[in-house]
């Protein structure tokens, strides 16, 4: 891993305008993503994950506004960092997909139903100045092969002729068409059956290692995060509450919310611990609580938690959390040497 981050998110804030006021959906989020690295952003639905992802490529809905911060990108044709949030429309258009591809949550509807896959491949390439149709086709066919699709058939098909899993992989292949430096996946496997999920995870791992793109994926599926990610970012109420190496975070969580998330997930390798769901619901983001946003739901909470927001600080090597009582949390497993496959969230 190089020392220059390919994507550096700095103090990003996003607000939605609602009738009752401004909803602060993403608050002061900062983290770096390095070339070739995979970062998983986890959290309950409504914690701001998807908003964050959309903000990175500036695809937020009209009601949302970026209220501050920077998204610095360096790589590909940009040898010095540029702020994605300051790109003009045509630069932005070029940045999307060529530098940063985003694969959407509902892949079922992410392809235009009236155009053949081939047409959508070609138009994407053309939009970025690639006019050699033959070469594009070869590249697309190769990518379809890589994501384990029948290349010829899929290339000449209409989206509705493909199954959900196939469409998801078409989208993934399409995402890699221009060899982007960053790929963002939003809940890439939610709508899929377990077998297809496995295929996608396998394909992602291999392609990531072969092609060397940085991967940011948004998920509430912790086992997938454990399997794919190098680093974990936990978001709660629009804030990053914990960030660190995958094994660090999963074995020695330093934030009760991450711990709660892990306890709420069924254990794949046999249910040793019982399932505990997190009591309560996330706070109102129009008028967020003064102290720690998680305090009302937290079993470790003390009076100070309701008063003072805990800063996001380093608690161990490459492991930061925003909790006043991070050292009171249990250690789930001592060894961090075990392979991530056996992570027991």
């Amino acid at each position: 891993m190089s020392h220059q981050p390919v994507l550096s998110i700095q103090n990003l804030n996003v607000e939605y305008t609602a009738r009752r006021g401004k909803v602060k959906a993403v608050r002061d989020v900062s983290f770096d993503v390095f070339p070739g690295e995979t970062v998983a952003v986890i959290g309950e639905s409504g914690c701001g994950k998807t908003t964050l992802a959309l903000a990175l490529v500036r695809l937020l809905p009209r009601s949302a506004k970026i209220a501050g911060g920077k998204v610095l990108f360096q790589g590909g044709n940009y040898s010095t960092p540029i702020d994605v949030l300051r790109l003009n429309q045509s630069q932005l258009r070029a940045f999307r997909w060529r530098n940063c591809a985003m694969v959407f949550q509902s892949a079922l509807n992410a392809l235009n139903p009236v155009l053949k896959v081939s047409a959508q491949v070609q138009e994407t390439a053309r939009a970025h100045g690639e006019h050699d149709a033959k070469q594009i086709e070869e590249r697309a066919l190769w990518l379809f092969q890589q994501v384990r699709l029948d290349p010829r058939r899929v290339y000449n098909a209409y989206p509705h002729e493909l199954s959900g899993g196939m469409r998801q992989r078409v989208l993934l292949a399409l995402g890699l068409l221009l060899d982007p430096q960053v790929v963002i996946l939003d809940e890439p496997t939610t709508a899929l059956d377990v077998l297809t999920q496995r295929t996608i995870i396998e394909v992602l791992k291999r392609l990531r290692d072969e092609m060397g793109f940085a991967l940011i994926f948004i998920s509430h599926d912790l086992s997938m995060a454990a399997e794919l990610a190098h680093r974990i970012v936990t978001m709660y109420a629009g804030k990053v509450v914990e960030i660190g190496q995958v094994n660090e975070v999963f074995y020695r969580p330093k934030h009760p919310y991450t711990l709660g998330l892990m306890r709420a997930v069924p254990n794949l390798s046999g249910g040793r611990a019982e399932l505990v769901s997190i009591q309560g619901s996330p706070p109102d983001l129009i008028d967020p609580p003064r102290g720690c946003p998680f305090a009302p739901r937290c079993s470790y909470a003390q009076p100070i938690c309701h008063e003072q927001p805990p800063p996001l600080e380093m608690r161990a090597t490459d492991h930061a959390s925003a909790c006043h009582f991070w050292d009171r949390l249990p250690v789930l497993r001592e060894s961090s040497e075990a392979s991530s496959r056996e992570v027991n969230p």
């Binding site: 940045f95 949550q105 509902s106 992410a110 235009n112 009236v114 138009e123 509705h160 002729e161």
Partner: protein, 360 residues
């Protein structure tokens, strides 16, 4: 793991043939065609029943009239009526029916009573094209403009532009189309005096002879301007509002967002993504609206004295010219059925899901 291709076709040729036949029968085209044929047949039969079987049927009325007015015997009168409808009314009823259908299929619609024994088909051939031309042009213009306005309204939703146009559109689409000529004649002809409305009767300047000259075409367009404007005004509100709703729902679709994410140019997204998908459901409505526009044309032509089939139908009704009435009714229905079929085909060409799938 490679996904299987299409289920392998059975190797034996009979299975292959059956497969293909099955596909044809289930295809959109086939179903549209049978539906159209069925409708035409039903209309034929209903008109036959109306002219022949109803109490006080046109044939009886005609025979009575011939007997009392021209002093013919019942037999002579019936023979003359038979000549006019080109059906032998002495034959058994099922034979009359087959004769009638057979004649119709050969284009023999009988002769007009009121316009001195001219074949009905001739009258239709002379006047129907004008109606189809003006209605078709009006529908086309309103559809295209409505789509554009609807899209703009959706993109600028809740702007003053959208609110104002929505109000106008909903008002326009609730006025019965045939009342618009009154407003147009009053405003354009009487108040603003933009066009010599009272003199503009017919389909082109009577001093000209039909030819491919600019003068003649200009005259045709000028004379059609008001009827066409009426069709446009009566339809455009409906198209704009439908397109607005359709566009709004398409704008919420994931593929539009995904297209932005792929860095496609705005114009491409507007046309191939939003426009094309949003207009799809409107094509089925287009088929249905042909009938209602043609219906309104009867009265609209009457107000403008535009010499199309509508005026002829009105005159035929006034003169109790049943062969002509029946012929016009059949041809108008046939035209709408054909227009429906055309719109269906167009739709199936535009939406691959319909083209291949079994149903929408």
């Amino acid at each position: 793991m490679v996904d299987a291709t299409l289920p392998a076709a059975p190797p034996n040729p009979i299975g292959l043939l059956r497969n293909r036949l099955e596909r044809i029968f289930k295809s959109y085209l086939f179903r549209s065609l049978t539906q159209a044929l069925f409708t035409v047949w039903l209309v034929l039969t209903v008109t036959f029943v109306l002219i022949r079987m109803m109490p006080g049927s046109p044939v009886d009325i005609l025979v009575d009239r011939l007997v009392s007015e021209q002093g013919l015997t019942r037999e002579e009168a019936l023979a003359q009526a038979a000549a006019m409808f080109s059906v032998d009314f002495n034959a058994p009823i099922h034979e009359q029916y087959f004769q009638y259908v057979g004649n119709l299929l050969r284009g023999d619609l009988g002769v007009s009573i009121s316009s001195t024994n001219t074949p009905v088909i001739e009258i239709i051939a002379r006047f129907l094209p004008w109606t189809l031309f003006s209605v078709g042009l009006g529908l086309l213009i309103s559809f295209v403009l409505g789509l554009l306005i609807g899209m703009i309204m959706a993109y600028w939703r809740n702007s003053i532009f959208d609110v104002a146009l929505s109000t106008i559109a909903s008002f326009l689409s609730s006025i019965p189309s045939y009342l618009l000529p009154i407003l147009l004649i009053y405003l354009i002809g009487v108040q603003w005096k933009l066009l010599p409305v009272a003199r503009m009767r017919g389909t082109y300047d009577p001093k000209l002879t039909p030819a491919f000259t600019i003068e003649f075409i200009a005259s045709v367009l000028l004379y059609a301007a008001l009827p066409v404007l009426t069709y446009v005004l009566s339809q455009i509100g409906h198209w704009a509002l439908s397109m607005k709703n359709s566009t709004l729902s398409v704008l919420g679709e994931e593929y539009v967002n995904a297209a932005h994410a792929r860095g496609l140019p705005q114009r491409r997204i507007l046309i191939a993504y939003v426009g094309r998908n949003a207009s799809l459901p409107l094509f089925t409505q287009l088929a249905l609206s042909v009938g209602s526009v043609v219906g309104g044309a009867i009265i609209i032509e009457l107000f403008f004295l535009y010499q199309g089939i509508g005026i002829r139908l009105f005159e035929a009704i006034g003169a109790r010219d049943y062969p002509l009435m029946q012929g016009i009714f059949l041809m108008i229905t046939l035209s709408t059925v054909l227009a429906n079929l055309l719109a269906d085909l167009l739709y199936s060409q535009l939406d691959p899901r319909v083209r291949l799938g079994e149903s929408k």
